[in-house]
Symmetry: C2
Subunit: 359 residues, 2 copies
């Protein structure tokens, strides 16, 4: 169904018209909505580009239930040999910069070129701020109804490592489902940028004028990671300010050390709302990918990212297994009470549990 001819066809529940009118497709959707479904059925669904199967498999990845985790691991293993040569693009920017509008404009441009676009998010703060990015699909209403696009909010979790791992695994499933352009959104505020930068081929920073401390502090770290800095909302009265900011950022970037990719980050203006500048941005991205595939940075970078992925999986698994061991579950409850009653220091209580686990 990802091969629908008209990517702009609209229908309810993100299903293309062909799916609704085609009895086979309806049967398939109903099939994948059943309560119990085997992992091999889900894998087959994914490899047949069925997005309901994809959604259900992602739900397994995001679950903390031991049976679900086992199923998820088996699905990922089966999908790994079938991943395609997608491109992975990270997009960041502080709240208010227009990330959703930009991603929607870019996504629609990409599907109009025949691309299949998956939009994921990494937002470990969503547990706290109770407002996950991409949580509300209406923020990208047009793209959400595009038959060649798939949008999935950030997995929840206060632990960045866990959120990042789940997102990496979701990328694999999206690629096995035939999505060739993976966009990963994150909020422009720190650690999650670093995590997203580690899982993409291209990292794009969105900016706006008048955001205060554009060029200093933590932002500098994020700007150093960026392959492109795009000033959004460069329309109407704001156009001139945007150009001033563009020049300032250009100057800052020229002072940064050369990138391993040999790519010189580009700075440009756009108006995602008016869909201005989007085509040019995609053209530049295309030439970026040509460059880094030619000089083998693409390949090298993916190899390094795979190492990161290995470490993330190890760390996440170690903690998971510890906290699910029966002896630990029992003693943890005892030590928690002892710590709360000031009978044991948290430090000693922790080291004692580790000693028990090692036995």
């Amino acid at each position: 169904m990802l091969k629908a001819n008209n990517p702009n066809k609209k229908s309810s529940q993100n299903i293309s018209l062909s799916e609704i009118t085609n009895p086979n497709a309806i049967a398939q959707i109903q099939h994948f909505r059943k309560k119990e479904i085997s992992t091999s059925e889900l894998v087959n669904g994914i490899l047949n580009q069925n997005r309901t199967a994809l959604s259900r498999a992602i739900t397994l990845i995001e679950s903390t239930h031991p049976t679900h985790i086992e199923k998820a691991n088996s699905i990922i293993k089966s999908c790994l040999p079938h991943v395609n040569q997608s491109v992975r693009i990270g997009i960041t920017g502080i709240p208010g910069v227009g990330k959703s509008t930009f991603i929607e404009a870019l996504g629609i441009h990409l599907t109009s070129l025949g691309k299949k676009v998956a939009v994921l998010a990494v937002d470990p703060s969503s547990a706290l701020s109770s407002g996950s990015i991409l949580g509300d699909k209406t923020r990208m209403e047009e793209l959400a109804q595009d038959a060649n696009a798939f949008i999935r909010p950030s997995p929840s979790g206060s632990n960045l490592g866990g959120v990042a791992r789940k997102t990496r695994e979701t990328i694999i499933l999206c690629e096995a489902t035939g999505f060739d352009t993976i966009i990963i959104e994150t909020v422009g505020v720190g650690q999650s940028e670093i995590a997203v930068h580690r899982m993409v081929d291209f990292f794009l920073l969105l900016q706006i004028t008048g955001a205060g401390d554009d060029l200093q502090g933590i932002k500098r770290g994020i700007m150093e990671m960026a392959d492109a800095v795009i000033i959004n909302k460069a329309d109407g009265e704001n156009s001139q300010n945007a150009q001033v900011l563009q020049a300032a950022i250009q100057k800052t970037i020229s002072l940064f050390p050369k990138k391993d990719s040999e790519w010189v980050p580009f700075v440009s203006c756009c108006s995602a709302l008016h869909k201005e500048g989007i085509t040019e941005i995609w053209q530049t991205l295309t030439s970026y990918f040509e460059t880094i595939k030619k000089n083998h940075f693409f390949e090298e970078n993916r190899k390094n990212q795979n190492l990161d992925w290995m470490y993330e999986t190890i760390n996440d698994e170690l903690l998971h297994q510890f906290y699910n061991q029966p002896a630990i579950i029992t003693q943890l409850e005892i030590n928690k009470k002892a710590v709360q009653n000031n009978e044991k220091s948290p430090f000693e209580a922790a080291l004692e549990l580790i000693r028990i686990y090692k036995k």
Copy 2:
């Protein structure tokens, strides 16, 4: 030496004049600067309020060397029974908001009241941005030379859990050394706020006018954690704008759910540069601490934070022990190569290492 009468005495290397002119003090400093020193000597030094011993012990906490970690653990254990009833204050705000100036003004006010102030920092991004907060003591030149103040930059590390754990352990050592007011600085951008909020009794958010998205997005989550929002740089022409922002924040905060502490967060303006408003802020903090000690929130909150600390120590230890096991060290190297050569998927390589570790 923390009991020097004049806290504004200045001298080189953060040592009070009495230390320089007193032969015993000089001998003691020289003693703690020796290359090899036993843990019991360091513990004695700490309990005798010697800050050179404190510095060296913190260096052990921050080390990744197995012998140092063992020493550090033993020092913490010995110091735990001697921690005093300090207050722990977290301070955050985006870069440019004037955190250093504010902390210096507050710190000097506190030492003038006879308090002993330790300033620590949590900044896991410092590894990436290569500019740790508090890294440069000259940013708080006056406070750094105050005999009753101790300033320590953020421990380095890209892993927030590890940085947070080291900071908690450092708090214990500072308290055992007699510091009664612990200030923990962090950058106002996300996960590290949550970590710091979990280790302090009072959480203060610094703001400035014109910072753009003051009231939206991720900032909302941080604002919800705040016990006070202080608008800094409220001087000269900016005074009126600061008052407008104060009213807007006040309104936002009034819509938040009631805090467990029953404390209604206060919003006020100050000019840290001109030392205006600092006395009033400290008065409000004093009444905060009276309130939460009376209604037992202080105690309850500390208990919950101790649980966090226990979990942090467990998680950090688990990873540390895994990566230091000889069988893992060997196989990790093999699997890293296999992943880089695309002979093994990162996912399978990770699960294989976990299997080996479990044996």
